[in-house]
Symmetry: C2
Subunit: 412 residues, 2 copies
DNA sequence: GCATATAGTTCAGATTGAAAACTAATTGAT
DNA sequence: ATCAATTAGTTTTCAATCTGAACTATATGC
């Protein structure tokens, strides 16, 4: 349908097609096969198996695997016996001696975790910290300490850290490592010193938007295993979101798509902080729900706990506040589903705490405004909780490594 | 960020990375450079120039160009003199002896046109025909006749037709060539015999959605030259649309994205034919505008002419009907722009006839609901008129050819 | 103990682009 | 007119890489 991207090969673009590029592509193919095999438990791919699944010859796969083993990305893990006759193969797997770090700065806490190449979360630490209004330097220092502890532990366990991802609740510019605006932290135009976090990691640290990361975490480690096209709505102070299309995050032209919170759901609705009015956020943001439910001011976690209590005790103000949020969420989801041809909705962030009360309202609203587009069993609540963003940030780094293994290989 | 697509190379996927694939990629690179050069007028790329622009060596480019010339896709067009000293180069261009056909079936007419590889529309024929409720067979027979005339003319002019695209106002499944539903034609689940249209064309005929094609036509031959990320809204009987992101059409998971007409713009709005209510179409569809403006029943073109007259004469009912449509259009556009981070809006279809009256309403609404996102000078009216969809369908075919030149090459 | 089957390696052959040397054609200075 | 300088395009040699076929290695089962 469209021309290959960057086909022109102008200045600043990837190198033109050389014979070496074939090998790079095939290294990636082999790694992708290994990564895929992992979700199929009890399946121990061998060189011969990889050859069959990638379409390459056994000779090529042997050579590619040797290179990946040299680079430390792939490890042999004993014999693969299947009871059949013939010489047994050598089972291969993504090395668990290589890992990436996921990091998150949020309003009430910072956290970091170590994910090995196989996708297992080996370490996960959270540190409560009131970051709203704190200086970026001091928060980064705190985070750097946390990460350095994790790096030490990793090193003791013989794990080499290759890269990392940092999720921040705000609009970010990943290329420059700048937080353009993070209203809930009161940060604006802040260039973070990402180099401090993982100074030795060849892939460095990449900055991400928190809602997008949560959507990615959900994609790779949550409902994404079942749904391939969905709207992820993350309720935090504002209402963020992520669009997953064909099992990939749709990031938009400037990597900032997914602002569900400012879709117009009620033309005559109240003014919004964004300057518009009737935005979803004015009905489904934390402040909107809390005040409608009559929850007194306080910290977000205390108020959220209060809301849960009132919901559980059948308080009608709380129940109707949440139902109203769900109603408008359903309207925004209906429009999005129609516009982008999506078939599922996943609720994350604070909405996970309201699951049983908000889901029916969303389902009803979807049925009412876009019948037949999103079936009730495709409205789900995230099960990852607070770790979604961290998993997304780490997973993103993991995928960078698997997509560019040649940068670790002797040949460079 | 994500793994290379199809990296697994499983069944049904493109062949694995062989050394030959490098050449395929480079053939595409060279063609892409030539296609790009064409929008830079008075620029006659030579082999040496292509080498510099693709990053390939002169030797490789010579060999690639020879293959493309053999395949008939590229032609030498005399010497390229630039007044400098040194041996003059031989100017190259995409051959104007190869072409693709764009076709459209709409409610009131069918049309077809011939686009040469350089992007010039060489022939364009429209045939009035009331297709609503007609059998697909009879309409296809009519179209096949029109296309066969064009093919004869092309042949007389020495132009070889390589492929084609057919735009139909409805949801289509391109892979099976089926019209799932085209309400305005009263077609539903119709498998079109696309093979009849261009039996000799190696790339065959591909079925497209009309609104998407119009968006593509706009992208390649209209405002897309200035805007790279925009919402294209096409008013026909319903309200269709297309999302252009990074100068590419965003087609959605099943190629059916862009249903702007059924975004919810007024939760308490009237019922819609889709089963929902408050959809944009109930305010900005043809019937909504005509009845609100007090235009008596009749054929679409007569009513549209009537509306234009009333608008020109300052009729207040007409003016306010169009302003209302624009208001709600602006709301849908505001939500879309926020959700997908778009920065421009292009109005097509019947909205082009209402330009001066509807644009201000859209601009006002955008400023009201999403201030600072879409600036007023980035709300534009399409200038392509009725040919947008045809150009999009043809252009899409042209791009398939340029993206897979090796299928025409001796090596196959 | 040996036939059979499967895993993995080695080696020759083909394709391809890079690099450098070479031929071709034009300008401009002498 | 002649020739150096300059640019376009071709030819040649070389290295990288995959494929395919032959070969080695190691199991099972009769």
């Amino acid at each position: 349908m469209s021309l290959e991207k960057n086909a022109d090969g102008g200045p600043g673009r990837p190198a033109p097609g050389r014979v070496e590029d074939v090998r790079r592509g095939n290294l990636v193919r082999v790694l992708a096969s290994l990564a895929k095999a992992r979700s199929d438990p009890d399946m121990h791919p061998t060189r011969a198996d990889l050859a069959a699944r990638t379409g390459l010859t056994k000779a090529s796969v042997s050579s590619l695997v040797a290179e990946l083993v040299d680079a430390g990305l792939v490890a042999e893990s004993g014999a693969a016996r299947d009871g059949e006759r013939g010489r047994p193969g050598v089972a291969l797997e993504l090395s668990n001696r290589r890992g990436v770090v996921g990091m998150e700065i949020n309003v009430d806490y910072i956290s970091a975790g170590l994910l090995d190449l196989g996708g297992t979360l080996r370490i996960h630490r959270t540190l409560e910290s009131s970051n709203r209004g704190e200086s970026p330097e001091s928060v980064m220092t705190l985070l750097a300490g946390l990460v350095s502890d994790i790096a030490a532990e990793a090193s003791a366990a013989g794990i080499v850290i290759l890269g990392g991802g940092l999720a921040v609740p705000g609009l970010v510019d990943a290329t420059s490592g700048t937080v353009d605006s993070a209203p809930n932290l009161h940060w604006r135009g802040v260039a973070l010193e990402l180099g401090r976090l993982l100074p030795a990691a060849p892939f460095g640290t990449v900055l991400h938007n928190e809602a997008n990361c949560a959507a990615l975490g959900e994609l790779w480690y949550g409902h994404g295993l079942d749904f391939h096209d969905y709207l992820f709505v993350s309720g935090e102070v504002g209402v963020g979101g992520g669009l997953v299309i064909g099992s990939e995050l749709f990031a938009g032209p400037r990597g900032q798509a997914g602002e569900v919170g400012h879709m117009v759901v009620e033309p005559s609705g109240p003014d919004c902080s964004c300057g518009g009015h009737g935005c979803l956020e004015t009905f489904a943001g934390q402040e909107a729900i809390f005040s409608e439910a009559g929850i007194p001011p306080g910290t977000a976690s205390v108020r959220l706990a209060g809301l849960r209590e009132q919901l559980a005790s059948g308080d009608s103000a709380a129940i109707s506040a949440v139902a109203r949020a769900g109603h408008y969420l359903g309207i925004a989801a209906a429009s999005t589903a129609r516009l982008m041809n999506l078939s599922a909705v996943v609720l994350g962030g604070h909405f996970t705490q309201m699951g049983p009360w908000i889901t029916p309202a969303v389902v009803r609203s979807l049925a009412d405004y876009s019948p037949g587009v999103v079936s009730p069993d495709r409205v789900a609540v995230s099960e990852l909780g607070q770790s979604a963003a961290l998993l997304g940030a780490a997973g993103s780094s993991l995928r960078s490594v698997l997509a560019a293994p040649f940068s670790l290989t002797p040949a460079g």
